[in-house]
């Protein structure tokens, strides 16, 4: 698949990428792969936040008060059409929680020895890669217990995405539900809320 952005901030547990095109981030809960220093190694992350803002903290922030902009009213996509410079001064970024890596054609569901370097490419994963990655549910735990991210929402979104990529979505949802139940056996309310989000 085509690269969609490059790493702009990186650490062992998560990395942030700048998307090459405005509003063209991988979706929330999507699996992305970042190239590593070692050409044989790639780091997998789950997108937990997408944000779009001005590249220039002070200068490019403009008032778009109301719809009356050029005398006639402009809304939504029309604004971007009439102001092509916006696509250049706004930037979409997305952050991913590192959940594993691949090395020598094997997938590992734990943290890689090195995070992906800044400026290295980030690719979205297709259905086949997503299915291969989700053969094991070991990463559920890393997602559920990650701090300062909407972890339950993220896990639910990931499970739904994986289910859609498989030939039998229902079977996967049921299996995943069981796995989550094991992890959240001490917290009935949280489990209940999560299961509702992945109900077949």
């Amino acid at each position: 698949m085509q690269r969609i952005g490059e790493v702009i901030e990186t650490s062992t547990t998560r990395f942030t990428a700048g998307a090459y095109a405005l509003h063209a981030a991988s979706p929330f809960g999507g699996l992305v792969r970042a190239q590593s220093l070692d050409a044989e190694m790639a780091v997998y992350g789950l997108v937990y936040e997408i944000r779009t803002g001005s590249k220039e903290p002070r200068w490019a922030r403009r008032r778009f008060a109301g719809g009356t902009y050029t005398g006639r009213e402009l809304y939504d996509a029309e604004i971007y059409h009439e102001h092509p410079d916006l696509a250049e001064v706004l930037q979409t970024e997305f952050s991913a929680l590192t959940v594993g890596f691949s090395a020598e054609r094997r997938v590992y569901h734990y943290l890689p020895p090195q995070p992906p370097p800044v400026h290295y490419s980030v690719y979205p994963c297709d259905a086949a890669e997503l299915t291969a990655f989700s053969q094991s549910s070991d990463f559920f735990r890393s997602v559920l217990f990650a701090a300062q991210i909407p972890s339950d929402e993220l896990l639910a979104a990931v499970i739904r995405t994986i289910a859609r990529a498989r030939p039998d979505p229902r079977a996967y949802l049921v299996d995943a539900g069981r796995e989550v139940a094991g992890l959240l056996k001490d917290d009935y309310d949280r489990l209940n809320a999560l299961l509702r989000r992945i109900r077949p």
């Binding site: 220039e56 009439e82 092509p84 410079d85 250049e88 001064v89």
Partner: protein, 402 residues
């Protein structure tokens, strides 16, 4: 903190009081001068002659009317699709207290295309000057450092060349196009420069204008809130008791008859007035006033076929000044295009051309970047094993600044 706000506050209040007073005075004089302008509408030719007669002998700036004084041109229709290029620059001046003698010019480059297939390309191009030839101009034994005003002149040249390059690269002639710059096209800063310095920069600047003329893309520059008193200078002639066009007599300030008769000079009514004041009530949204040629010495003597003309245009609550070279001014189609595209840019940019705002954003070097540049230079010198150290004065200042 060493600014005494108690003492300052008092002075600021006094300043506001006196500003309010002088505004009333200016308003009443503006009305009289604007009325005189209206009454002179039919005599454009006469006042153009008066300007030519007085150019050498009067002590103020002039604008030569090229169109009838009462011209009010409504906004021409804006093309559905158009493209434009713009550049703007910033500079870091030669730093005498820094580690090594160098100067930096950063040029912001903007390409925008509107309409059918909208597209934007923004980037910036830095130029580092550090060699002897970069930093000094020499003429025989004389050696002039390129800093301050002269570095600004070099920046103007770089902006121009970048604009011409951008036009070659991005404008394919399929759409109506415009090349836009910020500020004036008249290189005032060189007016008092030594001859060889003036020649050096002007030659390069004019060859950029020549490139643009050949490419057929009109060049214009935009001045927001212009302070120029050139039309006001021409207005002075209308109050001058000594001007007699029929007799071939222009204004001679050294022999002013009012001063000889111990009166206040009649033209004093125009003092402090600017061109925008005179046109403020004549132009409504999007309209432009008549075309004038700027009669500043450097323009008349050096610009030749690129002689800079200008008009004022109403954009919201301000009048902006748009300058064009003669070859645009004499081409009605190109002039209309400049008029409408500049206005469209202002509308899209909330009162200031989008392309110029973007070019400025690209060009500006902020203080963290400035520091990063400094560190880059120091690090690189260190690795090159050149002793690198700032002056004691700089180090002391950085300590106080924290």
């Amino acid at each position: 903190m060493s600014l005494d706000f108690t003492a300052l506050g008092k002075q600021v209040r006094q300043m506001s009081g006196s500003a309010a007073g002088s505004r009333l005075d200016t308003a009443s004089r503006t009305q009289q001068v604007a009325a005189r302008y209206r009454s002179a509408a039919a005599e454009t030719e006469r006042w153009a002659q008066a300007v030519n007669l007085s150019r050498e002998t009067a002590s103020w700036l002039f604008a030569l009317p090229v169109e009838p004084l009462d011209t009010v041109r409504p906004l021409p229709t804006c093309p559905a699709s158009y493209a434009l290029v713009a550049t703007d620059g910033s500079q870091i001046d030669l730093d005498r207290h820094g580690t090594v003698a160098c100067a930096l010019v950063n040029v912001g480059r903007v390409f925008l295309r509107y309409g059918h297939k909208p597209l934007a390309r923004l980037n910036s191009q830095p130029y580092l000057y550090y060699t002897e030839e970069d930093l000094y101009l020499t003429d025989g034994l004389r050696r002039v450092a390129i800093e301050g005003n002269y570095l600004a002149a070099r920046r103007d040249v770089e902006e121009g060349v970048a604009l011409a390059d951008l036009a070659d690269e991005m404008l394919d002639g399929s759409l109506p196009a415009l090349a836009l710059q910020d500020g004036t096209l008249v290189r005032w800063a060189l007016a008092n420069a030594e001859r060889f310095v003036q020649d050096y920069f002007l030659q390069r600047y004019l060859s950029y204008l020549e490139r643009m003329r050949k490419s057929g893309v009109p060049v214009a520059s935009y001045i927001s809130r212009p302070r120029a008193p050139e039309v006001a200078g021409t207005m002075r002639l209308m109050f001058c008791p000594d001007v007699d066009v029929a007799a071939g007599k222009g204004a001679r300030c050294s022999e002013c008859s009012d001063i000889r008769a111990h009166r206040e000079p009649s033209c004093k009514i125009c003092e402090g007035l600017i061109d925008a004041d005179i046109f403020a009530e004549r132009l409504t949204e999007g309209q432009r006033g008549p075309l004038f040629a700027s009669m500043s010495r450097i323009n008349v003597e050096c610009y030749g076929e690129h002689l800079i003309h200008f008009f004022l245009i109403r954009v919201g609550r301000e009048l902006a000044r748009v300058e064009v070279p003669r070859w645009v001014a004499t081409d009605a189609e190109q002039l209309d295009r400049v008029h409408t595209l500049v206005y469209d840019q202002c509308v899209r940019g909330d009162g200031y051309p989008v392309a110029l705002a973007r070019a400025h954003e690209q060009a500006i070097v902020r203080s963290p970047e400035r520091r990063a540049f400094q560190h880059m230079v120091e690090g690189s010198l260190y690795r090159a094993e050149v002793a690198a150290s700032a002056s004691m004065k700089r180090e002391s200042k950085e300590f106080t600044r924290g």
